[in-house]
């Protein structure tokens, strides 16, 4: 058994940034374990641009963004293993992994960063109604078939869900000659970035049906038709609003779920809102010495923020490795108040910190509103906003000196202007 200071599970955008940060802060004995045959994760199939605007101040494609990090990983000679699947993490932080070349390996880690990304919600998980035929495909898989394998997935396509990958695939399918008949979104607002609605739907005259969902898939061997219907506030179908589209493909972009089977086996509770684990300001989980970041922690809209968050998790892990002091006791809790879906980190300590970045998402779109931040009952900060959207993660940096002890909870809420 080999001893390793820091094991990073996942070599996508989060894992790569975490590894670099740790190495730059002097951690020499580290390793990245990646399940795919390449580093870079899902970025490698995202051939559209728009990556790197925050981080590099330029427009990069997914593979270009990934390559910048991969080059640095190679330069820093950070070891990694590809085609490698982690079977188990034990209570004493042993990591059992398998690949074809090394067979079965056990590592004893001092600290672990979970950068395992997310998976797409499946047709089964949303209990899609109608026939179970070929031609129903998640947007990410469709993207992989087109951009990595080089095959068209369908000729007449309908898309359920207005998540970003679905929107990107609407444009991609259109550019490759398919007819994209429409996008149905069950919510009364889009779940994708505004720029994607404009550039991927509006520019190609693809209709977006808000408050609509697929009521039935029809087909014998392959999708032949989808029927959509409008839904009311309780998400029940409104009779008489059905529309039918003859198509051969239904692409699903109905949400991403942090992928944490290894942590679930360690009995770390998942947060019902984020579907990831709870962390403190160092991105340490409830499990001593295990850190989580990127889409495995909560689903991000921009990769730039994934990289930033991973660097913070790496800083946390380095601090843990260097002095073993951490903030697992006497922590304050953040609370998602009215209009807020979740706040991250879920716990934090005030000591020794100048500033902490708090991340949150709103439950629905807001116009002309205030973000109100309170310690228990006293208001700490009010931030005016012209608009807030659930599809866009907000970051608020709070100076810890402004928080007056004693207090238990730090609450975030949205107040609309009358």
């Amino acid at each position: 058994m080999k001893n390793v200071d820091l094991v990073i599970i996942g070599g996508g955008s989060a894992g790569l940034a975490a590894a670099l940060q740790a190495k730059q802060e002097g951690i020499e004995n580290l390793i990245i374990l990646e399940k795919e045959p390449y580093l870079g994760g899902i970025l490698q199939q995202c051939i559209h641009n728009g990556f790197g605007l925050v981080q590099f101040k330029e427009q990069l494609s997914g593979p270009e963004y990934a390559q910048r990090y991969i080059d640095l990983i190679e330069q820093e000679q950070i070891p990694y293993r590809l085609n490698t699947t982690v079977y188990e993490i034990t209570q004493d932080k042993k990591i059992y992994y398998t690949n074809a070349d090394e067979g079965c390996v056990c590592l004893q880690a001092k600290a672990i960063i979970m950068a395992t990304g997310c998976i797409e919600r499946s047709a089964g998980a949303i209990m899609l109604e109608g026939a179970r035929v070929s031609g129903i495909m998640s947007a990410g898989l469709a993207q992989k078939y087109m951009n990595i394998e080089g095959y068209m997935v369908g000729k007449k396509v309908f898309i359920l869900g207005s998540g970003d990958i679905g929107l990107i695939m609407a444009r991609r399918c259109t550019l490759e000659g398919a007819k994209v008949l429409g996008v149905a979104e069950i919510m009364p607002y889009s779940n994708g970035l505004n720029r994607n609605i404009v550039q991927c739907l509006n520019d190609f005259d693809i209709p977006l049906y808000l408050s609509h969902t697929v009521k039935k898939v029809v087909g014998k061997d392959r999708v032949e038709k989808v029927m959509i219907a409008q839904v009311d506030q309780k998400m029940d179908y409104i009779e008489g609003t059905e529309k039918e589209f003859e198509c051969d493909t239904l692409i699903l972009s109905v949400g991403l779920i942090p992928y944490n089977p290894l942590l679930e086996k360690l009995n770390i509770t998942l947060n019902p809102k984020t579907k990831g684990v709870n962390v403190n300001q160092d991105y340490e989980t409830d499990f001593d010495g295990i850190f989580s970041c990127g889409n495995a922690l909560h689903v991000h809209d921009l990769v730039d923020y994934v990289s930033q968050e991973a660097r913070l998790a790496a800083k946390g892990a380095v601090k843990y490795l260097k002095d073993q002091s951490h903030h697992q006791e006497n922590l304050h809790e953040t609370k998602a108040g009215t209009g807020i879906n979740y706040v991250l980190p879920q716990k934090f300590a005030r000591c020794n910190e100048d500033k902490i970045d708090f991340k949150f998402r709103v439950t629905r779109p807001f116009k002309k509103c205030n973000i109100v931040i309170k310690t228990d009952e006293s208001v700490v900060k009010i931030i005016k906003k012209l608009y807030l959207l659930p599809s866009e993660m907000e970051i608020v940096s709070l100076d810890m000196k402004t928080l007056q002890e004693p207090f238990k909870n730090l609450e975030f809420e949205i107040k609309e202007e009358c």
Partner: protein, 476 residues
């Protein structure tokens, strides 16, 4: 092509009979209209080996269920199929239900099935998550759960290894009776025909006989929960059929998932649609049995169609046309009865016709399959040292290796589609439902069959997954 016996339909009944006949010196063929064996009723059911207390005494169902149940331990050992006698409990919610349980227990005695009536306290000791509504339960310890997909596949694999011919994608469209036997599809000749066509058993029968029975398709919808460490039920739980709900069950599966369902509704033979209203009703009924069912762990819903005969008992008999044998109307408990049904058909009908001798080289064993994820660290290490492909994990959710897939492709009843592979090895059966691994599975199938990726189908030959290659795509 001339055969002694042709079996129409490669569901669990056809496969069981084919394997049973493969012991004898005779030429046997199985004609299956689908692109895989066990692809209709055998593919979408409760995966339960019922104890046999439920069918009314004196029926074929009662006799063959009890007989069949007892055969599964030995059979599944020979076939290398997962089977566990976890026991079933039928739950009562009120005094009226308790009366029903008492009636069922009497029926169990008549059928010679051992059952135990348990009160609420006794039940909670073995099933702590039962709902507050549950008053009593009838435990049948001989009930079991099985991997229904591989039961059928391994039956057929063993039959083929012992000389049976399987023809997939071969729908029977015509049967002609001639002096020297039967001619099917102007192509296959046989002395004897066994109709195991399930849902289509009546249509096949009517190709050669007047209408004597009718098969009514009945749909059952189900929910599948992911596997998670905290097993919230340990037995197969049934609800006493009553006005509160029809016989919905909650059961662990041999792959550590949980199955909840079925509904029961008359439908058309190819209607495998699921719908929200039915699924919600199943959830409501299941919640009468168990508290806080983790419905957020649902990974799939599906529907299966059962061939319900109008008289509600199995039909196992030689038809008006001599040497044409109907084995139809095999609805629940068909899976549990299947080995006994095959035994009955072979011993009481086929062997009575002609005394076929036993093959000398008959081998009842399926060569054991390797399940890398079930091995210990050390054992896994040894296997990967022997074959590197066992170290390359294709399905990340279920931890299925490339080596296992390549092994499976070389078997004699191999998968030809993504669904067939999923049925055999659980590739794409997990949380991501193939989102992460389907493209790798496609590559392995395409390489093995020397096809392009867009020639690999999801299930039937027409269920293509990919269309044309993109222009300028860089192919390796």
């Amino acid at each position: 092509m001339k055969y002694d016996v042709i079996i129409i339909g490669a569901g669990v009944i056809g496969s069981c009979i084919a394997r049973g006949l493969s012991k004898y010196n005779m030429k046997v063929a199985v004609l299956e209209k689908n692109n895989d064996v066990g692809n209709e009723t055998s593919n979408a059911n409760s995966a339960i080996i019922h104890s046999g207390y439920d069918p009314e005494c004196g029926t074929l169902k009662a006799k063959l269920n009890v007989e069949g149940n007892a055969m599964f331990d030995a059979l599944c050992k020979e076939l290398d199929v997962r089977f566990q006698r976890i026991g079933s409990i039928t739950l009562a919610l009120d005094d009226k239900d308790i009366e029903t349980l008492k009636m069922l227990q009497k029926r169990a005695q008549q059928n010679k099935v051992q059952t135990t009536l348990l009160n609420r306290e006794e039940l909670l000791k073995i099933e702590p998550h039962l709902s507050q509504h549950v008053k009593a339960g009838l435990l049948a310890e001989t009930a079991g759960i099985i991997d229904p997909f591989n039961f059928c596949v391994h039956l057929m694999e063993n039959a083929i290894d012992n000389g049976v011919d399987l023809f997939l994608n071969t729908q029977v469209t015509s049967i002609v009776k001639r002096e020297d036997g039967f001619l099917i599809n102007h192509q296959f000749q046989a002395d004897m025909v066994i109709n195991c066509a399930g849902l289509y058993g009546d249509e096949i029968n009517e190709m050669i006989n007047p209408k004597t029975f009718e098969i009514i398709p009945r749909k059952g919808e189900y929910l599948v929960l992911d596997h998670f460490d905290n097993a919230f039920v340990k037995h197969t739980l049934f609800l006493v059929p009553s006005d509160k709900g029809k016989g919905v069950l909650i059961s662990p599966t041999t792959s550590h998932n949980f199955l909840i369902g079925p509904s029961a509704e008359i439908c058309s033979k190819d209607d495998k649609d699921t719908d929200k209203i039915t699924i919600n009703e199943i959830k409501r009924t299941a919640s009468l049995m168990v508290e806080n069912i983790p419905f957020h762990q649902v990974i799939r819903t599906f529907a299966g169609i059962r061939p319900t005969p109008k008289n509600h008992d199995f039909i196992i008999e030689e038809s008006q046309t001599k040497n044409f044998i109907n084995v139809v109307g095999i609805e629940s408990p068909g899976l549990a009865s299947s080995p006994a049904i095959a035994k009955k058909v072979i011993e009481e009908i086929i062997l009575k016709k002609k005394n076929y001798t036993l093959k000398e080289n008959y081998d009842p064993y399926v060569k054991p399959y390797i399940h890398i994820h079930e091995l210990s660290f050390e054992e896994r290490k040894k296997w990967i040292e022997k074959n590197k492909d066992y170290g390359e994990i294709v399905c990340k959710c279920e931890k299925i290796s490339k080596g296992e897939i390549l092994d499976c492709l070389q078997r004699s009843c191999p998968p030809h589609s993504i669904k067939a592979l999923k049925k055999r090895l659980r590739v794409g059966f997990g949380k991501c439902q193939g989102g992460m691994c389907q493209s790798i599975a496609m590559h392995l199938l395409a390489n093995y069959y020397k096809k392009n990726l867009n020639e690999i189908s999801y299930d039937s030959l027409n269920s293509y997954i990919l269309c044309d290659e993109l222009k300028g795509a860089n192919k390796q």
